[in-house]
């Protein structure tokens, strides 16, 4: 796919830039919704390291995507490859968590609260994993499997900060569930210098939310 080809080209360019540098710095991101003008949460930023540097900056994590009130919490989770993620069920009903994403295909067939607490799914491949629930179609969460530790997600203020980045010039890619993959605003080039914090400000135009609307409240049916 074209998109992937472009990314690869950028990544190669980033690798060359990084080679001229040997110190560390910080990168801050602030994202706003281009249409609404408000801070945009759930924007993932990943600093693309050259292939040869990646291995030393990968720290597998243990993370968790909970299910509360028939929603995934959090909606966007950033991990590195080989991280382990638990999918506990905090609701008193069953959920069926699945993903058909290329990065990770898995399913946790119907299970209730207190089950699968210690079960961990390992995410070995980088990429975006869409999580769904076969019972509750509106439940949608993403796990961003980054290639290195230099990735984070914006909070409610639309900001994030990644530190300890070796100085150099890198490709920085952004991702948001409702951002078009070919949106140029998702790709940036950032130069990191020692002891300084680079600031990236981005305004993202979002697509329409294609997610299914959540079914009405439990008053209509207590099995929802």
């Amino acid at each position: 796919m074209k998109f992937r080809v472009r990314i690869k080209a950028l990544l190669m360019a980033g690798t060359i830039l990084l080679a001229a540098n040997g110190q560390a710095g910080e990168l801050r991101l602030q994202v706003i919704d281009a249409d609404a003008g408000v801070p945009l949460a759930d924007v993932v930023m990943e600093v693309v390291l050259p292939q040869n540097l990646r291995a030393q900056y990968v720290t597998p994590l243990e993370s968790e995507v909970d299910q509360q009130e028939k929603e995934f919490v959090a909606s966007v989770t950033v991990i590195t490859t080989d991280s382990l993620v638990r999918f506990p069920n905090s609701d008193d009903i069953l959920h069926h968590v699945y993903s058909f994403s290329e990065a990770k295909v898995f399913e946790l067939p119907l299970y209730g609260s207190g089950r699968n607490i210690n079960y961990q799914e390992k995410f070995e491949l980088p990429g975006v994993v869409e999580l769904g629930c076969n019972i509750h179609d509106w439940m949608l969460a993403h796990i961003y499997v980054a290639e290195t530790d230099f990735a984070a997600v914006t909070d409610a203020t639309g900001t994030l900060s990644v530190s300890e980045i070796p100085a150099g010039t890198y490709a920085v890619k952004l991702w948001h569930p409702r951002a078009s993959a070919d949106d140029p605003a998702l790709l940036h080039e950032v130069t990191i210098t020692d002891g300084t914090a680079s600031q990236l400000r981005v305004a993202l135009t979002l697509n329409r939310d294609n997610r299914l609307r959540r079914a009405p409240g439990p008053s209509r049916s207590r099995y929802r």
Partner: protein
Amino acid sequence: MSKILHRLDFKSFRTRLLVFLLALLIPVLLGIYLFVNIQNNDYTEETINSYLDLGADVFDFSREEHKNTLLTITSTLTRDWGFRNAFGTGDPYTIIDAADNLLMRSLGAADMMLITEMDGTVIIDTAIQGFDNLQGEWLELMEAAANSTEGIADAIITVDDIPYQMTVIPLFLPTPVAWIFGGFPLDNQFAETVKQSIVSDVSIVRITTGAPRIAPDGRQREAREIVASTLTDVDQYMLLNQLQLPNATISESTATDFTNRTQRIGMLEGEYGTLVRQLYGQPGDDLQIVAVIQKSYRENEENLIELQRRLLQFYLVVIAASLGVVVLLARSVTEPILNLVQRVNLIEQGDYDQVVQVRGRDEIAQLAGSVNNMARGLAEKEKVRDLLGKVVSPEIAEELLSKNIELGGEEKVITILFADIKGFTALCETRQPSEVLTLLNSYLSKITQAIEDHSGVVDKFTGDSVMALFGAPISRGQDADNAIRTTLAVQKAMASLNKINHDLGLTGIDAGIGVHTGLVVAGNLGSSNRMNYTVIGDAVNLAARLEGLTRMYHVANVVSESTRSAAPSFVYRELDKVRVKGKNEPVRIFELMGTAEELSMQEQSDIKAFENAVKLYRQQQWQDALTAFSALNLRLCGSETYADSIYGVYINRIEQYLKSPPPTDWDAVFTFFRK
């Protein structure tokens, strides 16, 4: 109106009444009939239209329902874990199987499925239409779904020119990854389903314009083809030929009007109300699909015909009943009228005794009462007339009835006849009074008959005498002649009666008759409320005297000179010259002898001899006269005795004069001093 009615010549009142009734009834009934027909036709029209409108709505509703079913089915598929799993893992064969399974399990609710990626790349197409990417109306449908908040859209899309109701929903895994199209054809099965709901026929018609389209089997499509229909083949054919459709040239609003307009299309079993619904395309498009909803007028028309039949039956009953009532009514009028007519005819013929039965108090009853009263009045009058005719002579009765009766009279010359029955008193002495009356009546009847036979009028009966008038109240001419003939007739009648009576051993009766012609006053005599028609005057008295003289002269009759002059064609003999009581003028009196033809030679010579003897007597040649009368008397009686005869009268007189001769101024007139 009345002129027309008069011009119509009815033979009977019943016919007239019938014609009037029918003339009134039939327009009213006809009016009702037409009104009901029009109302019914309107009602039928309304009913059919509402059926069709309802049918069109139900058609749309059914389509909607089917569509929802489709959505439910496809939606269920997208939630099926197996299907999701197959799709998620990108297993096309499993996906096709899952789709096929679903179609089979939908029990016809879904007939085809088409699954594409979000960009319209076709993944599977159960209808195998042969395109890799969505295009045309498919693409429009997909975009419509993508632009909707629910991600759902529907449309009618033709697949091989067959209209399909299509729906599309996205497949969430958990974000939309595919479009699931589901569809069912608007085919015979669908038409049948709709028909079951709307009780109207449903047809789906495809209209193509421009270049002929080619069917999947390579056949060229007709300009109009039935895609699906609940009609029979023949009706389908008739529908295609007659269905009117809007064309490209008409405006959109006209097209709307057009589709709202009910067409009448003649089918095999009668007319169908037809309503068109555009399903696909617009007027003028190369391809249009319309739904045609049809409802037969037949059922309603059958109802109408049944109603008409009932109405006509009712009319027959009404007319029959009315006719019956009219006949009865007519009879109730005509029967009494016919009775009255019959009654009046009888009255005309003089029968007054029948009485018309009077029932009720209506005009006819009043008329009947009047006729009865009239009959009674007429009967009374007739009775009066009859009685009058008996009491007075018919002529007098007629005179009395024809003129206003008033006192007073007129002078006229008439002939008066008195007839008296001689020897009647003697008869009375030896008989019972009733017997006497019977006998008297028989004689008087004969006399009356003779009088009336000769145009005489009986004026009155006085005891045993009759007074008759000739020339009053009306003269028939030859009054004196008639009186003379009457005299003869009476004498003849008396003779024959006497002959009968003689055979019965009864004493003979003679009649004395006096006849005189003279001036009288004829008229009503009496008081204003009680009067007699009669004649008065000297002539009457003289006639009476003459009658009395018959006894003196022993003759059957005495006729005055004036009568003799008035009726000269008869044979008389002069009896005498007399001066009756109360009269100074002497009169010559005669005896009627008969007609010249009747008299024998002897009689005629006797008359001559008598007249000669009288002449001798008047010349006072007593001996000669005596000899002549004696000779006559001898021949009459056969002996010397001069019994009761005229000759005896003269013989006596001569013998008196012989003893004491009359004075010198004797004029040969015999004076009577008694009546």
